[in-house]
């Protein structure tokens, strides 16, 4: 067992109330999420945070840990190498209470890129099979694991100054749908992505999103991929 000082942001009704530090005992393999539970269980039952799956699949527990957006359930306290763990809400999102944020702005931008699948042949009864060996599956393999945790949204320096910017996750989602050979909704997505104030052109290639993505998605690469595609005169090329 090791002793940690867990310094958590307190926020009530959108008003910041500073930080409060609690002393917590953790086993070596325990995570920051365990620390948050310990704070709630042993010190202050009103302390609020979000979590669901606890195994890094749902993305619900994304918070800022020692200044970096991460999943609390996937961050071992011992890996931080510090006696104090500072937990704050994800940046660039409105705080509901303590370290729990509203994901509404994130999903508002998500909706703007037409994230759902729009089939080319909605009436067809044939199965639209995309083989694992296809170019689409091979080139997008590392980009399909997004769990919409919002870590990239919180880490993005452009998002910090622009409410309109789509954010890395939504842009990555648009790329996946655009490159999908079965999907047809190219024009509305390209319109959203080509917006000067909200689209891919705002990205300054800072790589913050890529650095914090808990699924290791190279979001910056997705954005640069789209920029390259938009520099061509031809419409977006579907991957075979």
């Amino acid at each position: 067992m090791s002793s940690y000082g867990v310094r958590v942001a307190r926020n009530q009704g959108g008003i910041g109330r500073g930080y409060q530090t609690f002393s917590v005992e953790l086993e070596d393999r325990m995570t920051v999420l365990d620390a948050l539970f310990a704070v709630q269980r042993d010190h202050d039952p009103s302390f609020t945070f979000r979590c669901a799956c606890r195994v890094g699949m749902c993305g619900t527990c994304a918070v800022s840990i020692n200044g970096i957006p991460r999943l609390a359930c996937r961050t071992r306290a011992s890996s931080l190498g510090a006696p104090e763990i500072v937990v704050a809400p994800l940046p660039n999102l409105p705080v509901l209470k303590d370290v729990a944020v509203s994901m509404e702005p994130f999903f508002e931008q998500w909706k703007r890129v037409t994230p759902g699948f729009r089939p080319k042949h909605p009436e067809s009864k044939e199965l639209a099979i995309v083989p694992a060996s296809s170019q689409y599956m091979r080139m997008t393999g590392g980009k399909r694991d997004c769990i919409t945790c919002g870590a990239c949204f919180g880490a993005c320096g452009v998002k910090a100054t622009s409410g309109e910017y789509l954010g890395p996750a939504a842009i990555n989602r648009a790329l996946l749908r655009l490159a999908d050979p079965r999907d047809e909704a190219v024009a509305p997505r390209m319109k959203a992505l080509d917006s000067e104030r909200a689209g891919v052109w705002r990205c300054h290639t800072q790589f913050n999103c890529t650095a914090v993505c808990p699924k290791g998605i190279s979001l910056t690469d997705s954005i640069v991929w789209l920029k390259r595609a938009m520099l061509r005169r031809a419409p977006f090329e579907k991957l075979p």
Binding site: T161, E196, W201, H204, K227, L231
Partner: protein, 115 residues
Amino acid sequence: MSWNAINWYGQRITGAALVLLLIAHFWVEHFASDQLLRGELTYEAIRARIASPLWQGIDIAFLIVALYHGLGGLRNIVIDHGRIGPGAARVVTALLIAAGALWAWWGIEAFQNLR
């Protein structure tokens, strides 16, 4: 290709051009002749160089590239950090284009007044 794409690409092209032009500029201005190295640079020597159409072309290209890149970068900063609406952004763009055109004219005009 959209205007946004052209503008983004223009910033990259002019950025790369500036690297080459700046290196050439520093070399020519500080190391290119014995006269310079001896610290005996005169107005006549500079005038003789920039009277050449080739040097005028290079210098005017440098001026235009630097203005495009610099003012485009300033516009990006204003849009990124200014928290301004689309209408105000259009006014900023118009002002920067006007400033750039005036500045370019001023620089090009200087070549006409070599004495």
